[in-house]
């Protein structure tokens, strides 16, 4: 017997009844919410060929994938996200479906993350993919759905930062930066290393005007007037197009009445090789990581041979659970089951009664008296009947029902027996 017999691997956990009930309740709320927005759920396999993800190496570095081999020696990996499989599906089995396609997913993803603070190596993620539309309205739809999802799960304080990676790409093109300089600049902006950024600006010989642009990109005020400020400073076509697109998406969000949640952050430059336009992240208190994130990745489906624009987002159920716990929000309580105890000769009747109760919505355990070890507890007669129990919201877990010899049922509450 191996020494790991009593352990679970790093980054995965067992969900015990209480927590599992909370998780399931959040999952079903999220599913219901996705349906109301008109997105159809898909379920892709938990296992994919490694080649499915190898095309997006910048976004899914190979060391973050759980890999193994099939019987023919081909490399497989566990599902890393919901987006890449959805893109595969849209370009292959659904290649003839008329766009736009609206897909939702909810399932477990696997990554070699460092775990902690709500981060796991196996985690549950839900998300939406809107494929085949490249309008600001489509971006707005996805951002609105992301905010709505978090709200439907009980998260109240939400802040969303929106960026547009084409703005940075426009600068790189205009300044004709080498790939190395561009990557360096991207990192310095994304991590707000203002001092190192100053040095880099000097080394690249950028003008005062360009410096001012980068200063605005790395500032933290998030105000939407940065769009106008930047328009006064740059006239590079790529950048102007990006700013106009950002403004158009904000106009959509204004019509959704969501502007109070929004701030602008043009310095968000993670995974810019993957994102092609709008990028956004949602934040809340008590969680060190973004609650949800998404954006436009028009290359994702194209990588599978179908030219289809794509925008989407994902939200982590485990992150939502951590945030709700730390924000002290009330959690779903697991509705306790009523125990119906019978003497052997009343079994048939008891089984029938318990089925009837189940049909009326109660959780019922039906158990013989011998198996019930009731001599250790003190039973007190309970005044109410089954109707009252069905009406009650938070049923006591200490309730027990007895099937008497005459077939009538009597209710008791259990206490600890005093000696």
């Amino acid at each position: 017997m191996g020494q790991w017999q009593f352990h679970t691997p790093e980054g995965v956990i067992d969900y015990l009844p209480e927590e599992c009930a909370v998780k399931r309740s959040l999952e079903s709320k999220l599913r219901a919410y996705f349906l109301t927005r008109g997105y159809d759920e898909i379920e892709t396999p938990g296992i994919e060929f490694y080649d499915v993800y190898a095309g997006s190496e910048v976004f899914t570095p190979q060391e973050t994938l759980f890999k193994f081999c099939d019987h023919k020696g081909r490399i497989l990996c566990l599902r890393y996200d919901g987006t890449v499989p959805a893109a595969r599906l849209a370009a292959t089995v659904c290649r003839d479906a008329e766009p736009p396609l609206r897909f939702s997913y909810l399932g477990n993803m696997y990554r070699f993350n460092e775990s902690g603070g709500g981060r796991q190596r196996e985690f549950t993620q839900g998300g939406l993919e809107l494929l085949g539309l490249d309008s600001p309205d489509a971006d707005g739809e996805i951002i609105a759905a992301a905010i709505g999802s978090a709200q439907s799960l009980g998260i109240r304080d939400i802040q969303v930062s929106i960026g547009q990676v084409s703005f940075f790409k426009g600068l790189v093109e205009e300044w004709q930066l080498s790939q190395e300089d561009a990557e360096n600049l991207q990192l310095k902006i994304d991590t707000r290393q203002t001092v190192a950024l100053d040095e880099l600006i000097r080394r690249l010989g950028l003008s005062e005007n360009d410096r001012a642009v980068l200063e605005i990109m790395t500032s933290h005020d998030g105000n939407i007037d940065v769009i106008d400020k930047l328009k006064r400073l740059v006239d590079y076509p790529g950048c102007i197009e990006a700013l106009n697109n950002l403004q158009a998406v904000l106009n959509v969000l204004d019509d959704y009445d969501l502007m109070s949640y929004i701030s602008i952050d043009l310095g968000m430059l993670q995974s810019i090789n993957y994102y092609t336009g709008i990028i956004f992240k949602g934040f809340t208190y008590g969680l060190g990581f973004p609650l949800f994130s998404g954006g436009r990745y028009d290359g994702a489906v194209a990588a599978f041979g179908r030219d289809l624009a794509a925008t989407g987002f994902s939200i982590g159920i485990n992150f939502v659970m951590s945030a709700l716990r730390r924000q002290g929000s009330s959690e779903t309580k697991l509705q306790p089951a009523v125990r119906l105890v019978y003497e052997q000769d009343m079994r048939k009747k008891a089984l029938a009664v318990s089925n009837e109760w189940r049909q009326r919505g109660l959780r019922v355990i039906c158990q013989s008296k011998q198996d019930s070890a009731l001599d250790k507890v003190d039973l007190t007669a309970y005044a109410g009947g089954i109707e009252e129990i069905l009406a009650a919201d938070g049923l006591s877990s200490r309730l027990i029902a007895f099937m008497r010899d005459d077939g009538d049922v009597q209710f008791f509450t259990m206490g600890v027996k005093h000696q």
């Binding site: 902690g116 603070g117 304080d157 802040q159 930062s161 991590t191 707000r192 290393q193 203002t194 001092v195 190192a196 933290h220 005020d221 998030g222 701030s263 934040f283 809340t284 208190y285 008590g286 969680l287 060190g288 990581f289 973004p290 924000q327």
Partner: protein, 214 residues
């Protein structure tokens, strides 16, 4: 909602200098100056809470959002490679991260084909040699007195921080290449930067002003 600002400090000299700087910037840090063995020092009146952490743990606290702000050396940041906002170079604790070795290797570092490197900073060493110089190397992780390694033949060279260079000199070693300048940095959790912008932005501005005025 919880608006307390939690600041993680690297126990030791960096913490003292950080507290002094924050005070000059107009923040009351009496709580943090208490001579005590307590690890969490809180002042409900100012809404500030200080955590005294091991330097290598500061980036972790901040990345996970257990602290909103941290003060930590750039060497630790490079070694930990966390996702953070690195907002200010505080200037103090200045030194350099260097590749060092015996004097006779000066200018001839490339003459060793398979380098064995002794270091407290395996990640920095690996990134410098493997990514920047595209060279496979053997890293030997050590925990202190790294200069010993080349002297007794455990490693060919070392990667370590150099302040004055005296320890190197006295042991017949010298700086062969400089990897990066090092000093203390103020880092901020990416979520706190958004959710607590009202209190963090003014703090950053006040500290920057203080640094400019010297």
């Amino acid at each position: 909602m919880n608006k307390t600002l939690t600041i993680a400090l690297s126990k030791g000299r960096l913490a003292d200098q950080a507290i002094e700087l924050l005070e000059r910037a107009g923040y009351n840090c009496e709580a943090a100056k208490e001579k005590t063995r307590k690890l969490i020092l809180e002042d409900p009146q100012t809404g500030m809470r200080f955590i005294m952490a091991k330097p290598a743990d500061v980036p972790t606290y901040v990345e996970y959002g257990a602290a909103d702000i941290g003060v930590v050396g750039k060497d630790t940041l490079l070694e930990e490679g966390r996702q953070l906002y690195e907002v200010i170079d505080l200037g103090f604790g200045a030194c350099r991260m260097c590749v060092c070795g015996p004097n006779e290797l000066k200018g001839r570092l490339d003459s060793i084909a398979n380098k064995r490197i002794g270091t407290k900073y395996p990640r920095i060493a690996r990134e410098y040699f493997e990514i920047k110089k595209r060279e496979s190397v053997e890293i030997i992780k050590l925990n202190g007195s790294v200069e010993l390694a080349p002297l007794i033949g455990l490693a060919d060279i070392i990667v370590d921080i150099v302040e004055s260079g005296r320890t190197l000199e006295e042991n017949g070693l010298t700086v062969l290449e400089t990897i990066a300048p090092i000093s203390a940095r103020m880092v901020v959790n990416r979520v706190s930067m958004k959710m607590k912008a009202d209190s963090i932005n003014p703090l950053i501005q006040a500290v920057k002003r203080q640094l400019q005025e010297g």
